[in-house]
């Protein structure tokens, strides 16, 4: 029965790599800066999903902390980029 779970984990990691390739294409090609920031935000979420799946496979809870930190930094960096696009600076005097 464990073979099925391992197969599912491999399959979903492969699918997430394909999704990340699509997002990377948008990150490099994206016509405007907003598209690139959106692609970076998506890349953070997809990377967090990959780390959660790796945590299921290795059965350890350290991966959960890493995923939580990646979610946190993804939010902070996306908000900082959006603020920079909107105002021209991140922290206003």
């Amino acid at each position: 029965m464990l073979t099925l779970l391992n197969w599912a984990i491999d399959f979903s990691l492969l699918v997430l790599v394909l999704a990340n390739l699509c997002v990377l294409f948008r990150l490099f090609v994206g016509p405007s800066a907003q598209d690139r920031v959106l692609a970076l935000d998506t890349l953070y979420v997809n990377g967090m999903l990959m780390i959660l799946i790796l945590g299921i496979r290795h059965g350890s809870s350290e991966y959960f902390d890493i995923a939580l930190l990646i979610g946190l930094f993804g939010f902070v960096s996306s908000v900082a980029f959006a603020k920079f696009l909107l105002r021209g600076e991140v922290i206003e005097p």
């Binding site: 999704a19 699509c22 959106l38 999903l49 799946i53 995923a67 979610g71 603020k83």
Partner: protein
């Protein structure tokens, strides 16, 4: 209980949820790749950030609850955090896009 003797009634839903979640994330990424402009593209990654994330988190909660023989719910923290933060990011990005396009058309 170890990881090796998971019963089928844990493995089957977990595998199904993993495959469903990752395929939904792929559909969201394809939407980000194919949709015509930014305001449409904002909708694509929301699939991966909501339904894909929840499916994978529930699969992780199932497996971890059986391996540790107690109810493991700390994965819900990530779901709560993403629920709170994803709309904020989307709104700020949309405001930035509107502002920049208006400023470029004025020049």
């Amino acid at each position: 209980m170890t990881y090796a003797d998971l019963p089928w009634w844990i493995v089957l839903p977990a595998a199904l949820l993993l495959v469903t979640g990752s395929l939904l994330t792929l559909i969201g990424a394809l939407g980000l790749l194919r949709l015509p402009h930014l305001y449409a593209r904002l909708h694509g990654p929301a699939m991966g950030a909501t339904l894909g994330l929840y499916c994978i988190l529930i699969a992780g909660m199932l497996v971890a609850s059986f391996v540790e023989q107690r109810v493991v719910l700390h994965q819900l923290l990530i779901a709560l955090f993403i629920i709170l933060t994803a709309p904020v990011t989307a709104i700020l990005l949309m405001q930035a896009a509107l502002y920049r396009e208006r400023r470029r058309s004025e020049k």
